[in-house]
């Protein structure tokens, strides 16, 4: 069999094999075409790329370290575990890599108003942050349920000058926030740029967000070669929509020796139905502008998801992950809420790092994986965000009042 060229995806119309595409109402086809055109220019424009990388360096604080987690590795008792420290980015997660890129595009396209959806609030904060810096109006849609769960991020967005609009439709969570942002965009297509926070949505978003997040994997490649003089054996990242995973995996897809695992939110266990694992427990459908794996019932109605981490609580997943699953290039698995909590505490105790609950899924899986591998093997885990935002959730579960 000939080697797959992973750089061929997506095709001209945004398809990753049978996935992706542009499943949107007619009104949005024009702004998507414009975005596609401008992004295609920018992708290879040295001036744009220079501005993007300067922002990443001086504003976001890149490159982030690749840190050898010695005590976590020892506790696992097998392979060496390295952590890519995306938690050290400005605003505390990988999300800002993408918002910096998209905001530069917005500016270039002459848009004066930015909208975004957010679940846990990390993408909302990252968007409000860059909007403030560039002097753009910012409106963030957030499910009314999530607003209750993530009060501190709501306040952060307001401090940054954004308007946070509560969404009371449907399940009042991330998917409904995305619906509402799409509705806003339809009504304000002329002056508004929609910054989607993950590698999902209509073309060109999955490609664009992947490209902006690929800085993660590019840095890991250089850093691991410097530290170990060879490529890692295994990459691990958590997956909600899948942007941090795509960012880590993409630059390694062509390296056959590098295995990869995407860790979805298993919630209370796949068998209970209370989870957010679209790839492991969903079916192929169409949601939010792309064909991908979705969580829905036998009638095609999107089902409510459950995860301890709001950032993974999404019933779809990026279309490129759907393709990589079918091609068996990446393995997808799940970690339950309980296992993720264990991963959270492990990292706190063993390494002095409070990880986001999202990233804790990847930590928990990597620790188990490391235990099955020899000490010569190398695993790189994307520590996609810091956990300060989650301390109230963790305390509440453990019956502690802060």
């Amino acid at each position: 069999m000939s080697k797959t060229d992973y750089t061929q995806f997506p095709d001209q119309r945004g398809h990753f094999g049978p996935y992706g595409g542009q499943f949107v109402a007619e009104t949005l086809m024009k702004p998507l075409a414009e975005l596609q055109r401008v992004y295609a220019e920018c992708r290879s424009d040295p001036t744009f790329l220079k501005a993007f990388h300067e922002d990443l360096q001086y504003y976001v604080g890149r490159p982030t370290p690749l840190y050898y987690a010695e005590r976590l590795s020892a506790a696992a008792g097998g392979a060496k575990i390295y952590l890519k420290r995306e938690d050290l980015n400005h605003t505390g997660a990988h999300k800002i890599n993408n918002t910096v890129g998209q905001a530069l595009l917005a500016k270039r396209m002459g848009k004066t108003r930015i909208i975004a959806e957010t679940g846990a609030g990390q993408h909302g904060v990252a968007t409000a942050t860059i909007a403030a810096r560039l002097g753009l109006t910012c409106v963030v849609y957030m499910g009314a349920e999530d607003i209750k769960r993530q009060a501190s991020n709501v306040y952060r967005m307001k401090l940054l000058g954004a308007t946070v609009v509560p969404v009371t439709a449907g399940s009042q969570t991330l998917k409904d926030a995305l619906n509402e942002a799409m509705r806003d965009w339809v009504a304000h297509v002329d002056d508004t740029f929609y910054i989607i926070g993950t590698v999902a949505g209509p073309h060109p978003y999955p490609q664009m967000v992947r490209d902006f997040q690929s800085v993660i994997g590019q840095e890991v490649r250089e850093q691991i070669l410097k530290a170990e003089q060879r490529l890692p054996d295994h990459l691990v990242a958590c997956i909600g929509g899948g942007s941090n995973a795509m960012g880590l995996f993409y630059p390694f897809l062509g390296d056959e020796s590098v295995a990869m695992t995407g860790v979805e939110a298993g919630g209370e266990g796949l068998e209970t139905g209370h989870h957010a694992a679209s790839l492991s427990g969903g079916r192929v459908g169409v949601l939010h502008g792309n064909r991908t794996y979705v969580l829905c019932d036998a009638d095609g109605q999107i089902t409510e998801t459950h995860s301890i981490s709001a950032g993974l609580d999404y019933p779809g997943v990026g279309p490129e992950h759907a393709l990589l699953k079918d091609l068996h290039r990446v393995q997808y698995t799940t970690i339950t809420d309980e296992q993720a909590l264990q991963g959270f505490h492990d990292l706190c105790h063993l390494e002095g790092i409070i990880p986001a609950l999202e990233s804790s899924h990847a930590i928990a899986f990597a620790k188990n994986l490391a235990a099955t591998l020899s000490k010569q093997k190398i695993i790189v885990v994307n520590l996609s965000g810091r956990g300060d935002k989650d301390i109230h959730t963790v305390a509440k579960i453990e019956g502690i009042t802060i």
């Binding site: 119309r13 595409g21 542009q22 499943f23 949107v24 109402a25 007619e26 009104t27 949005l28 086809m29 024009k30 702004p31 075409a33 439709a169 449907g170 998917k175 409904d176 619906n179 799409m182 509705r183 339809v186 009504a187 304000h188 297509v189 002329d190 079916r283 192929v284 459908g285 169409v286 949601l287 939010h288 502008g289 064909r291 979705v294 829905c296 036998a298 009638d299 095609g300 109605q301 999107i302 089902t303």
Partner: protein, 265 residues
């Protein structure tokens, strides 16, 4: 000749604009859908757009979103929508029924299963809001095979180049989205719509129905000057919502509202 073609030909001969009400199947009750469809026809509707409820209706304003939510809470499913069409056809063999909704339930049912079942039930056309012609080849081909029309949206942002694509794939009629926004919006500019529809006529041959934001008899009348049909959705559902749950008063309210609009046209 199919019902859609026949209906618009007859309207054209009578120099009458078509009245195209939209309701969401299963709202306010599962049992009310077929009686409402008959009431619409009695009051002067020419074509019925029957909404297939979906959990994430991205192009809808709050009124129709809530109608979808109520319908799903009532236990409405895609299969039951098709059953309703079949039941309606037992007493009405002339009024075209267009199934309008979102793609995911159809993806899950399977394109061919859906096309076959919709044709068997007696539907006439299908309009999938989140399926632009670029993504519509497979479903439209199957719909054609089962003699169902594929109705595509045309928007104020649709470029002339893309009109060619819509013309190629679209059958039955074209649905012109009168404004940049969601259903039930309030900022409809009649002059702009008139100019747009006149422009569309140079490129498109099928009848053009206009919808989104037509909420009263006066606006309907103005739009009917230029369009082959006017679509009334949110305003009708709003009337139904305030009519209460008693079926007799609900049907009376529906008939009166549609009758007023028919008279104005």
């Amino acid at each position: 000749m199919n019902r859609i073609k026949q209906t618009f030909l007859a309207l054209h001969e009578q120099k009458k604009p078509g009245l195209v009400p939209y309701i969401t199947a299963g709202d306010p009750q599962v049992s009310s859908t077929v009686p409402i469809m008959h009431a619409l026809v009695e009051a002067g509707a020419d074509v019925i757009e029957l909404g297939m409820p979906f959990s994430d209706p991205m192009a809808e304003g709050p009124v129709i979103q809530h109608a979808h939510e109520r319908a799903l809470a009532n236990g409405m499913t895609l299969q039951r929508v098709l059953d309703d069409v079949a039941m309606f056809r037992q007493d009405n063999d002339t009024t075209p029924v267009i199934l309008m909704g979102y793609l995911n339930p159809i993806e899950i049912m399977g394109y061919e299963n859906f096309a076959k079942a919709a044709a068997k039930a007696g539907a006439d056309g299908v309009l999938i809001v989140d399926m632009p012609p670029e993504e519509g080849d497979a479903l439209s081909a199957l719909l054609r095979q089962y003699q169902l029309d594929s109705i595509y949206l045309v928007a104020p942002t649709t470029s002339v180049e893309r009109l060619a694509r819509i013309k190629e794939l679209g059958t039955g009629y074209h649905y012109y989205v009168s404004l940049k926004g969601v259903t039930g919006s309030k900022q409809l500019n009649i002059e702009e719509v008139s100019n747009q529809v006149a422009m569309l006529r140079q490129h498109l041959k099928l009848p053009i129905c206009v919808g989104f934001g037509i909420n009263n008899a006066q606006t309907a009348k103005a739009i009917a000057q230029v369009a082959d049909g006017v679509v009334i959705g949110s305003a009708l559902i709003d009337k139904m919502r305030t009519a209460g749950t008693d079926q007799t008063s609900l049907l009376a309210e529906v008939k009166q509202f549609i009758h007023t609009i028919r008279e104005a046209l």
